[in-house]
């Protein structure tokens, strides 16, 4: 019996990323180096962006055959027996670890840390992204050696493809008995997009040599900000003096936002509102979060605001660079707008606006809306939005303004009452402001959820009808539930279970 053991290599990738080509390069390089190489895969419908794997076994040349038969290599990876695990994406690396394909005593893990979010993650109503730091620490914990770097960014930086950069990483890590030159030759003999693939290969090779340290540009770090180092305005100084240090930064940002949004007086109102909480019992964290949410809610997205943002300075420059447009090319930007009656008539004064909206409702026109495509890079389109944005001075007289301010006061009152109970409770109540955001449907749904939580959870707790020890957690759970599905199913479940709390206690007491 021979003692020879094949080297086993598993690649986890997403369909369409060229995992098959990568596997081909590796096995061709192995064969050209005199080894025996075999690869297989399970494409099929997973090739349409789904998670998939490619498996290779390489029997090094030194092992002579017994002359009668070639090697019998496996077509499936066995958990605990993979020597090299390559993953084109961080979550897929973790998936492979969970399936047992990475072992601390054996496996070299080469993974690109760039994220391609799953539909579950990106369609969440808030932030559904997995914790990258946690995933990276799991990757390091379970691998014998881990080469983690954003190979996707390195490939993009080299105007190449991820699979080529991963091949460079494999070559650079020296885990296979194949020379760097043999890998290069594999790309060359393939004869497709050779130049680009070699660029990606070198990028991966360099990244492996540097131990996986991406350049600043690849890490997506912003170049040092060229923000003007202006001295603080009076309001900003006031924010810094009146508020705890941890909250001052956010509050200063809030002041700037609101000065741009409406004017200094409005920003002063912001600081007055925050000032209500500069008292014993409130900690810096509470004030910081209040400062954050209050600034966002006070700069509510009415039609005037959208117009302001759409003609904001620096927008087209940014668009050009994001879309990789060459200097000599021209771009046109067409905005997709579709205001409904609420967005339009809430620009009227409160009494008139409400009257018109009631009429619209009676006529059954509330679902009507006006689809518009506005070219902001053409003068006509620009002018329409410019005129709209000039309504800024009128804003405090609008129905929308009145409604938003009323909501803010209601919310702040609740936080204040909650603070009388406990600062943790107050923080959770403050956080509920996250639910109110967006436009149209989203905005209405957010309001409805918020009102439901206040009515069914916050008020009963404040009234002492529910056990106060559960207050903060109940508000947190209901907020998370409100973001779990757009139909409010989960929220209903959470409310039911919270409302059942005192009943349980009574039964226990009896």
């Amino acid at each position: 019996m021979s003692d020879a053991k094949p080297i086993r290599l598993l690649i986890a990738a997403l369909g369409g990323e060229g995992g098959g080509v990568l596997a081909g390069w590796i096995s061709n390089a192995a064969i050209a180096s005199g080894h025996f190489g075999q690869r297989t895969s399970i494409p099929g419908v997973a090739q349409r962006t789904g998670a998939t794997t490619y498996y290779l076994e390489i029997l090094p040349r030194a092992e002579e055959t017994d002359g009668k038969r070639g090697p019998v290599l496996a077509l499936n990876a066995a958990p605990g027996e993979v020597d090299v695990m390559v993953a084109s994406e961080l979550l897929e690396a973790i998936r492979a670890i969970q399936a047992g394909y990475v072992s601390p005593d054996r496996t070299m893990l080469i993974a690109s840390t760039g994220r391609v979010y799953t539909v579950d993650e990106k369609s969440a109503m808030g932030d559904g992204r997995l914790d990258v730091e946690r995933m990276e620490s799991v990757a390091k914990k379970f691998a014998k050696r881990a080469l983690l770097a954003n190979f996707a960014a390195a490939a993009a930086g080299a105007k190449s493809q991820l699979n080529a950069a991963l091949l460079g990483a494999i070559a650079g890590s020296g885990v296979l008995p194949i020379s760097v030159e043999a890998f290069r030759a594999a790309i060359q003999s393939e004869g497709k997009a050779v130049e680009a693939n070699l660029r990606g290969f070198e990028a991966g090779l360099n990244l492996a040599a540097s131990g996986g340290k991406n350049t600043a540009a690849e890490q997506g770090e912003a170049a040092p900000s060229s923000a003007k180092a202006e001295s603080d305005t009076e309001l900003e100084t006031r924010a810094k003096q009146a508020l705890p240090v941890v909250a001052a930064g956010i509050a200063t940002e809030g002041v700037r936002r609101l000065v741009d949004y409406q004017g200094p007086e409005y920003a002063a109102l912001y600081l007055d509102r925050l000032g209500r909480f500069a008292k014993p019992g409130a900690d810096g964290r509470l004030i910081r979060e209040l400062a954050r949410h209050l600034a966002v809610r006070m700069s509510f997205e009415d039609t005037i605001r959208v117009a302001q943002l759409k003609i904001k300075e620096g927008r087209v420059v940014r668009l050009r660079s994001e879309s990789k447009v060459r200097d000599q090319d021209i771009i046109d930007v067409t905005e997709f707008l579709k205001p409904g009656p609420e967005e339009i008539f809430s620009l009227l004064p409160p009494r008139l606006g409400r009257g018109v909206l009631r009429l619209v409702d009676r006529l059954g026109w509330s679902e009507k809306s006006f689809p518009m495509k506005v070219r902001t890079t053409r003068f006509g389109g620009f002018l329409r939005l410019k005129l709209l944005s000039m309504l800024r001075g009128w804003r405090p007289r609008t129905l929308r303004y009145a409604e938003e301010q009323a909501w803010i006061e209601q919310w702040l009152d609740l936080v204040e009452r909650a603070l009388a109970v406990d600062v943790d409770v107050a923080r959770e109540v403050a956080e509920t402001a996250r639910l109110v955001k967006g436009y149209g449907e989203t905005y209405k749904r957010g309001h409805a959820n918020w009102n439901r939580i206040v009515r069914e959870i916050v008020e009963p707790f404040l009234a002492g009808e529910l056990p106060v020890a559960q207050f903060a957690d109940a508000v947190l759970q209901s907020r998370l539930a409100a973001l779990a599905d757009p139909d409010g199913v989960r929220l209903g479940d959470v409310i039911d279970s919270v409302r059942a709390l005192p009943a349980e206690r009574r039964i226990a007491a009896e």
Partner: protein
């Protein structure tokens, strides 16, 4: 034309005696067919055997030289019926499809073929779509072989063995007048290996050397009264001939020592997986040098009783490694042992899983239990099994959260996605409808973010599966069908059936121009091109001819129009079937065509426009409604740059092909004002430049920012 180009592979189909073929398993089969003098080849595309046909479609020259007839069949039934040529003529023929589904569709023709028997070798190459990577219901082709008395080959998964079994398969078929199925699992189809090639052989009869029509011979018809003697012949004549051939040509292999008190019997296709577990246990090596007597069944039907009993005789126990259920081999071998009065203990599904893929872990666990039961406990194997379980538990604990799945999705800019966006928008307005799902890319709408569909009953079956639902619900049921499913059989089983029965139902036909899920093969309705097989047959005309009165055509990307049309279909007082033909070319195919052309024009300095979408990060509030209505891979999220907000904002990455869905959806669903379409004009004309200059100047006069890429300045920076 298909998604994959086989330019270099085609060259290896020409290899001659002694040259080494390097390539994929399924292409090795293609080469083996040419070496076997095959006269005709056909089949229906589907993973994992698609490449067999795709490569031949692109190998017109080779086929012409050899005189081979190639048919891209409209269904597996058509492919199976094609084998009828071998009933009367000494023509070798091969057909291929995805199994079990394709074999089911082909079943009627296969039964008739098997009854009449063949004189020319008939080989059916099926991709056993079983286990990881499979996309169909999990059943065994073995059952079909048993019921029709077709022989079933399951070769060891390496190219020399696969190629030999193709060649021997034809001989076996001719020696026993029986069609033969060659079964290859997913990984065996895609394994890359090598074998020593032989010269291609031209068939004896072909378009180049025509034969005369067969004389009338009633015995060749599967029709009473000859069906009765045919059935008897299957078992009294053809079966013994097959068994004799299998033994004489040593199709099954005995490996390892001659004697031993334990033995292993394994399906050929599982041998490599078994060997790697034996090697771990120190009972074999990387060259397949097993230390335990092993019988490798490259033919799993029929079994040869004397071969089985000969192997089992004198052994205390035998472990049978048979993947999938029911345990046909175990039943058959048990019976053979009983009849031979052998008391060798037979193990199989008691140690190995009753159902599901035989992964290394399943095999290792079963083997370990088998060895332990006979006092040969293997510490290495046992501790490996234990450590795998322990590691999984540890990782799961460390992770503490479940990992989100990553099922396949519609490609970037897919023309089918907007239809499902429209259905989701309409659902809000009209409430839920029963959705009958079909096979094809559109079945990806069963995954998030669409998560819709009530049943899947097979290819082209959606409309038929909704027949009994129509008329029983508030809303009419909606059936989805691709152009592939329509031509496969949906037109007859679905449309004709619904017309005949006046079913009050809605059918959406996704007309993307190809059989897209399998790699963009041409269909009867595909646009006729020089190098393609499309014939431009009009689906609308076909549906009209069958008798549908309510037919609408929509451009899928026009979401508002799709919503309106679907609403009308669901509400119109018009009786009977309502058909919506949703037109939108497969974006993969489209991009493959236009991208190089556009790059060429742009490089040549010609004016080229391209579109893409963009989300304004200042306006987006991070609710992601847009993603819940799209799921496009290029519509994703990125961290919020706003220090005041933490929810990630929607973001369109540079893969965007500018299909326009984002804008349509934001309008149709009245989502938010974050979306903008960017129209990039490369190499602008003087007129473009002038218009642009006028606009930017006026904008600047009216207080707009100087929003241009800073011109390369000649003035040194300060």
């Amino acid at each position: 034309m298909a998604e994959v180009s086989f330019h270099s592979e085609i060259q290896s189909l020409r290899l001659g005696d002694g040259e080494i073929f390097h390539g994929e398993g399924i292409l090795g089969v293609t080469k083996a067919l040419l070496q076997s003098g095959v006269a005709y080849v056909g089949g229906y595309q589907g993973a994992p055997v698609t490449h067999l046909l795709d490569v031949l479609v692109q190998s017109g020259d080779i086929l012409d030289e050899l005189g081979i007839h190639l048919e891209t069949c409209t269904s597996e039934a058509a492919a199976a019926a094609m084998l009828g040529a071998s009933i009367n003529y000494p023509l070798r023929g091969a057909v291929t499809w995805k199994s079990i589904v394709g074999t089911n569709v082909a079943a009627d023709a296969l039964s008739n073929l098997a009854s009449a028997g063949v004189i020319g070798g008939a080989l059916i190459i099926v991709g056993e779509d079983y286990g990881e990577g499979a996309s169909v219901i999990q059943e065994r082709t073995h059952a079909m072989a048993l019921k029709s008395s077709l022989w079933l080959l399951d070769p060891r998964p390496e190219l020399p063995s696969i190629v030999r079994m193709v060649e021997k398969g034809f001989e076996l078929s001719e020696a026993s007048n029986t069609p033969v199925i060659l079964e290859l699992r997913v990984r065996a189809c895609h394994v890359f290996g090598a074998f020593e090639a032989k010269d291609n052989v031209a068939p004896r009869f072909s378009a180049k050397n025509r034969l005369a029509p067969a004389k009338f011979n009633y015995d060749r018809l599967s029709h009473p009264p000859v069906i009765f003697p045919q059935e008897i012949a299957k078992f009294e004549k053809r079966l013994p001939l097959a068994r004799k051939f299998i033994l004489e040509h040593k199709l099954n292999e005995r490996l390892g020592p001659e004697h031993g008190d334990l033995g292993l019997i394994v399906q050929g296709g599982l041998f490599n997986a078994l060997n790697s577990r034996l090697a771990l246990a120190g009972l074999s090596d990387v060259y397949g040098g097993v230390q335990t007597p092993t019988l490798v069944l490259n033919v799993t039907h029929p079994l040869v009783p004397e071969e089985i009993t000969g192997f089992c005789a004198g052994k205390r126990a035998v472990l049978l490694i048979e993947e999938g259920s029911p345990d046909f081999l175990e039943q058959a071998i048990s019976q053979m042992l009983r009849k031979a009065d052998l008391n060798t203990k037979l193990h199989g599904k008691d140690f190995l899983a009753m159902a599901g893929e035989y992964t290394p872990l399943v095999l290792g666990r079963g083997l370990s239990q088998f060895l332990a039961a006979y006092g040969k406990k293997n510490e290495t194997l046992e501790s490996w099994v234990g450590s795998v379980d322990a590691r999984k538990a540890e990782v799961t604990k460390t992770l503490s959260t479940a990992l989100p799945p990553r099922p396949p999705t519609f490609c970037t800019g897919c023309p089918e996605r907007p239809v499902f966006s429209a259905m989701k928008i309409l659902k809000k307005e009209m409430g839920p409808v029963h959705v009958a799902v079909d096979i094809g890319c559109h079945a990806l709408a069963t995954f998030p973010p669409f998560s819709q569909g009530n049943s899947i009953l097979g290819y082209g079956m959606s409309l038929a599966s909704a027949a009994a639902v129509s008329g029983t619900q508030e809303n009419r049921p909606v059936s989805i069908m691709g152009d592939g499913g329509f031509w496969h059989n949906g037109m007859l089983t679905g449309v004709a059936g619904a017309v005949l029965n006046k079913d009050d139902s809605v059918l959406i036909v996704m007309n993307n121009g190809y059989s897209s899920a399998t790699g963009q093969q041409d269909l009867p309705s595909s646009a006729p091109e020089d190098d393609g097989r499309g014939r431009g047959v009009d689906i609308e005309a076909a549906v009209k001819a069958i008798g549908v009165n309510w037919i609408k055509r929509v451009r899928t990307y026009g979401v508002a129009n799709v919503v309106n049309t679907l609403r009308e279909a669901l509400n119109t007082p018009e009786e009977g079937l309502k058909v919506i033909i949703a037109d939108g070319e497969c974006q993969l195919a489209r991009q493959r065509r236009i991208k190089p052309e556009r790059a060429r024009l742009s490089a040549a300095g010609k004016r080229v426009e391209r579109q893409r979408f963009w989300v304004d990060p200042d306006v987006c509030t991070g609710d992601h409604s847009c993603i819940r209505l799209s799921g496009c891979p290029s519509l994703t999220v990125k961290p919020n740059e706003d220090p005041l907000r933490t929810d990630p904002v929607a973001h369109v990455n540079n893969d965007c092909v500018g299909c326009g869905l984002c804008g349509e959806v934001s309008h149709a669903a009245q989502l938010c004002p974050s979306f903008a379409e960017i129209n990039v004009i490369e190499n602008p004309s003087p007129w473009d430049r002038m218009r642009h200059k006028v606009s930017t100047t006026l904008i600047r006069w009216f207080g707009g920012a100087r929003d241009e890429a800073p011109a390369p300045s000649m003035v040194p920076a300060e």
